[in-house]
């Protein structure tokens, strides 16, 4: 089942004074479009987890309403509501006394599915999250690694094919390498599933990476900004948001932009056997006075600079000096810049899947993109 729209209308949660206001939510209104990942991000105590738990009514709001596809969650029997919403938490919370297969089939069991249907679903889901069903189905949770447990947690949440999933710091308890892999796998999964996902994290980098939309919350449960990651990085609505996303937000934004988003500079090219004098004058006439040597299919062979292009004769591939880094259209500008800095060059060569040259990514071009956005901020 694909995602449903989730709408918060003037949702407020107040706690007694003894609670010191931590986790309170103040008049929150926002709409998560169906099939989107909405990341709730903010410092601890900002009410992001409270917001999440009000959707499946683990916490009841003081006032306001939450609608899933237009239906008020308050008007449904609470256990039935929860069985239709996937729930994943940081500590996973697998049931230690049930096998992995039984854990995944928990909600189907509550819904009274037949054993055959459950078994089929378990197999399907374990495969989906990248675990060999035959190997894992009959194990107990304590026999799995943290990353494997977290995958089972996701499979369990998906078991009854809920339109909405709530994920509370789902990748917070695993080490950074495993986290990165789980994030990528989950994004790949989500492209197929298109669930509506509310995702809580305190890590702005994770928010930017995972979110189609991001809700930045600040202490007191106030929604500071709601928008796409690019929006939030480019136009922080307040000092709080600007500080929260960090001084390196320009660099973070580069990680959201890809080579394909850039206007590529056409290089001056030549093939082995071309006349040196003619190529030389073409290269020197260009503001980027280098000659890119390519083969007959357009694949890059190397660079020639002013000194290495002979005055007469023909160009041979032996004259080329080492290559710049090659980047694809999918490479983020952050990675492209980093590759150029590592290689100590001014340009990277953008190539297509066949390896043919499509243009150059220069440090200047990246700087220009950042500059252009910077101008918009000060406007």
């Amino acid at each position: 089942m694909a995602g449903a729209t989730v709408e918060f209308r003037h949702v407020t949660k107040r706690y007694d004074r003894g609670h010191k206001g931590r986790g309170a939510v103040n008049d929150l209104s926002l709409t998560v479009p169906a099939g989107n990942i909405c990341v709730l991000v903010g410092p601890s105590g900002c009410g992001k987890t409270t917001t999440l738990k009000m959707v499946n009514r683990l916490i009841e709001p003081t006032s306001g309403e939450i609608l899933i596809d237009g239906r008020d969650v308050q008007k449904e029997p609470v256990t039935e509501l929860r069985r239709r919403i996937g729930y994943v938490i940081q500590q996973v919370g697998l049931f230690p006394h049930l096998t992995i297969g039984q854990n995944v089939a928990v909600v189907p069991s509550l819904l009274g599915w037949s054993n055959a249907r459950k078994a089929e679903r378990v197999e399907e889901l374990l495969t989906l999250v990248g675990l060999d069903a035959a190997r894992y189905r009959d194990r107990y949770p304590h026999q799995l690694s943290g990353g494997e447990r977290q995958r089972v947690g996701v499979a369990r949440a998906l078991a009854a094919d809920p339109p909405v999933m709530l994920m509370d710091e789902p990748f917070g308890a695993v080490d950074p390498i495993v986290r990165e892999r789980l994030q990528n796998e989950f994004l790949r999964l989500q492209r197929e599933l298109a669930k509506t996902i509310l995702f809580v994290t305190h890590d702005i980098d994770e928010a930017i990476k995972m979110g189609d939309v991001v809700a930045v919350m600040q202490t007191g449960g106030v929604l500071a900004q709601f928008g796409t990651p690019t929006d939030i990085l480019a136009n922080p609505s307040s000092d709080f948001v600007a500080r929260f996303v960090g001084a390196d937000r320009g660099l973070k934004r580069l990680s959201l932009m890809r080579v394909a988003d850039l206007e590529l500079r056409p290089p001056v090219t030549a093939r082995p056997g071309d006349h040196a004098a003619e190529s030389r004058s073409r290269a020197l006439a260009d503001p980027f006075p280098y000659l890119l040597l390519v083969d007959t299919d357009g694949r890059p062979l190397g660079w020639l600079d002013e000194r290495s292009i002979p005055q007469t004769g023909v160009i041979t591939d032996a004259m080329a000096i080492p290559m710049s880094p090659l980047v694809g259209f999918d490479t983020t500008l952050k990675d492209a810049l980093s590759m150029m800095l590592d290689a100590d060059v001014h340009a990277a060569i953008a190539v297509d899947e066949q390896g043919c040259v499509h243009g150059l990514v220069t440090v200047d071009a990246i700087a220009e993109v950042m500059q252009r956005r910077a101008d918009r901020w000060s406007r």
Binding site: L58, Y87, I89, G93, L94, F95, P96, L98, L110, Y140
Partner: protein
């Protein structure tokens, strides 16, 4: 020193004492467990009940068994009832403490996951919390059972007692063989009962690595 011939001639008598000992123990542990279990579920729902329940059962636990039986005899006589009231009293503290601790030991995230997936309160209790509490509950049952087997001995002084009766008769007649037989059988009974409960717990909780966590 041991009159084997006496043992040979009195096997029926000995078996009867053993059976009586076992019966007294089983009744006490079952009744004690039923009461403690109900009390523990109440405490699980209403936390403030923990202190009064444990201080009453702790008070009973502290009173020496002979004194407790002596208190009861003028009211309930030299009867099975007197014996069982005393025996049950001594199981309560251990069983309540362990059952509550077992339920408390269920990790918070497991409880939260159960709620989040739509378990009702009673489904959560019976399908998640109690199975997970089982090793600690059984640990309590083991101690209660072994303790009760020892205490049944003392009920010989109020006319019950199973193997205790055998030992007391041996003492009164200055006949050590009866004392030794009663002693060895009671210790063996305790060891076997303890092992049987441990095995049962292992069989019921295949998910836990050791026995007791």
């Amino acid at each position: 020193m041991i009159r084997w011939d006496w043992i040979g001639r009195n096997l029926d008598d000995i078996a009867e004492s053993l059976a009586e000992h076992l019966t007294l123990t089983v009744i006490a542990v079952l009744v004690g467990f039923a009461l403690s279990f109900a009390a523990s579920l109440l405490i699980h729902r209403r936390r403030w009940l923990y202190a009064p329940f444990t201080s009453v059962s702790g008070f009973l636990y502290t009173i020496p068994s002979l004194a407790l039986f002596a208190f009861l005899v003028p009211f309930t006589g030299l009867s099975l009832l007197t014996a069982e009231i005393g025996l049950v009293s001594y199981t309560l503290l251990i069983l309540i403490r362990n059952t509550v601790a077992g339920l408390d030991g269920v990790p918070a995230e497991v409880r939260e996951a159960a709620d989040g997936m739509g378990y009702s309160r009673s489904q959560r209790l019976w399908r998640v919390e109690l199975p997970l509490a089982l090793p600690v509950i059984v640990a309590g049952l083991r101690i209660a059972t072994v303790t009760t087997i020892g205490l049944v001995m003392v009920t010989a002084l109020i006319g019950q007692g199973g193997l205790g009766q055998l030992m007391l008769r041996g003492f009164n007649r200055q006949f050590p063989t009866m004392i030794y037989v009663g002693f060895v059988l009671s210790v063996a009974l305790a060891v076997i009962a303890d092992a049987a409960l441990l095995l049962a717990q292992r069989a019921l909780t295949p998910w836990s690595r050791g026995g007791v966590r």
